[in-house]
Amino acid sequence: MKRFALNAVGLLVALFAVFPVFWMISTSLKPNREIFSATPQPVPREPTLQHYRNILSGDLIPGVSFTDFFINSAIVAIATVLLSGLLALLAATAVARFRFRLRTAFLVMLLVVQMIPLEALVIPLFLMIRRLGLYNQLPGLVLVYLGFSLPFAVWMLRGFVAAVPRELEEAAAIDGATRWQAFWRILLPLVAPGLVATSIFSFITAWNELIFALTFISTEDRYTLPVAMTYFFGRDDTAWGPVMAASTLLTLPVMIFFVLVQRRMVSGLVSGAVKG
């Protein structure tokens, strides 16, 4: 009986957590007459991909195809991932493999800068990006996202580098490998899974970001997906079919990646807080 009650509560919690996501996908597949019907149906009776076709082909808003925004978002996110992964790997190697005077200071700084409310930096970064001539340029966005994702990437990656036994590199050195070869042939392949996990976080940071993209990009052809969504659908619009289709397109990549790394995320976030 008690087991039954617990399971029932568990199902309620699961429903609360999942329902909005389910409703988003379900709505995106319904024809308009079902979306706006007087009695809502949980699943589409006559599922259709028309909303996806409409937003991707540019029929909905003449000349505006969400494919372009999708590509812009992907370019920005991938560039951020590559740069942030490279710089984080270098810094993480320095912190995990060397003792030097400013090491602790650097680590404390990493912790502190992650607490800076990015919302407070919109104004100075906006003026800086303008002065650099990067206003309304995708590289400008890549630059700020690199700054946002790097501290966490270094922090996360240093654990992975530290977990690779130093002896492996030492053995390689004895066998005559240069330091560069030891890094390239030994350390890098072993750190690769950590690099993938770290990259996914950087990807999600860049892919989801709204405020800076909203402020730094001014012409339609350069919109990222989040900006396009707030721009075309943000104003008392009730075209819920296309809105939900676009939302689903924006959400799915994040969800897939998130599921891949969520274990690491939790252990990275709170491990060390409890001593068993």
């Binding site: 104004i123 405020i211 060390g272 807080a273």
Partner: protein, 329 residues
């Protein structure tokens, strides 16, 4: 997504082992490896942070944006103007009340779900845990848009549900029987209620999963012993579980406070922009001051600095906690 972290235990342990190769000390290589990352952090985070403080002491507007290099110094003028504005007090009150309510609700719901996940059978626990993860994984933007659709005043599911209530009951409880066309986002009270729902929905999974991780590390015997001694669930939680997980709860409260204080995306999307001043909180107030015409970058910066200082105090607590744990482990 802003993600924050404490060091993993393995890495921390390794860090405290003495260097095996003291001759590496003084080598320029580690500094070379750090240089690019340091540059990026300095230019994109630390410099702008300094800038925003500097800007808060100047009068900056459209002329500076157009390239006028001169920044008229106004000292504490911006702060005086903001602190003297009754509207700022409304905004500050909104922010503090909202953050407090959200932290409390997130912590309570998250902890309860964490405890529940720990009690459920293996399969059920995995299933519910995965569902909860999906809420966490949903981007703030799309999560908010879906809730906005659920609360749509004509075809939204919530509006429909309220319409299904017996008219008499609905009339007695809420003073209205027909919910079609009810503007959920028009009054600050209902707006903040929906916003709270959205933010708690987004953030309770993190608390739940963290509490679960903490519970797994507590030996089950402790709970059994307490139960054998006749303690009820309430008593077991406050006398056994809570003291053992105190460090986890501490960090979770601090992180939630930081996140809930600077909520922007959810608010921006739910309010449909920056027109609705009655629901402003600090981060959106600062943004609209700077980017709604006419631009007032100095005033916006001053508000941003006030927000940052509040968060810095909370962060100070957090860093102290992390460092103390590093020392202990």
């Amino acid at each position: 997504m802003t993600t924050l972290t404490t060091p993993s235990r393995g890495a921390a342990a390794r860090d405290t082992t003495p260097a095996r190769r003291p001759r590496r000390r003084g080598s320029p290589l580690p500094y070379l490896l750090l240089l690019p990352a340091l540059l990026v952090i300095a230019v994109l985070l630390l410099w702008p942070l300094g800038q925003v403080v500097a800007m808060s002491f100047h009068q900056l507007g459209i002329r500076q944006l157009r390239g006028d290099r001169e920044w008229p110094w106004v000292g504490l003028g911006n702060y005086a103007e903001i602190l003297g504005d009754p509207f700022f007090h409304t905004v500050l009150r909104n922010t503090v009340l909202f953050a407090a309510a959200n932290v409390v609700l997130t912590m309570i719901l998250g902890t309860l779900v964490g405890l529940l996940l720990n009690r459920l059978g293996r399969r059920m626990s995995t299933f519910v845990g995965s569902c909860v993860m999906l809420a966490w994984a949903t981007p703030a933007l799309t999560g908010t848009i879906v809730w906005k659709w659920l609360f749509d005043d004509t075809s939204g599911l919530v509006t429909w549900l309220f319409n299904q209530l017996p008219d008499g009951l609905s009339q007695a409880l809420f003073g209205r029987a027909d919910w079609s066309g009810y503007g959920w986002f028009n009054s600050p009270l209902t707006f903040f209620s929906v916003l709270t729902l959205v933010v708690v929905w987004h953030s309770f999974p993190f608390v739940a999963v963290s509490v679960l991780a903490g519970l797994k590390s507590v030996p089950a015997e402790l709970h059994e012993a307490a139960r054998v001694d006749g303690a009820g669930p309430w008593r077991v939680f406050w006398s056994v579980t809570f003291p053992l997980l105190r460090p986890v709860f501490g960090i979770l409260v601090v992180l939630s406070t930081i996140w809930d204080f600077k909520v922007f995306t959810q608010q921006y999307v739910l309010a449909g922009g920056t027109q609705d001043r009655s629901t402003f909180m600090l981060s959106i107030y600062s943004y609209s001051m700077a980017f709604s015409p006419p631009p007032k970058f100095g005033l916006g910066s001053a508000i941003a600095v006030i927000l940052t200082v509040i968060l810095l105090v909370v962060t100070g607590l957090y860093v102290r906690m992390v460092l103390r744990q590093e020392e202990e482990s």
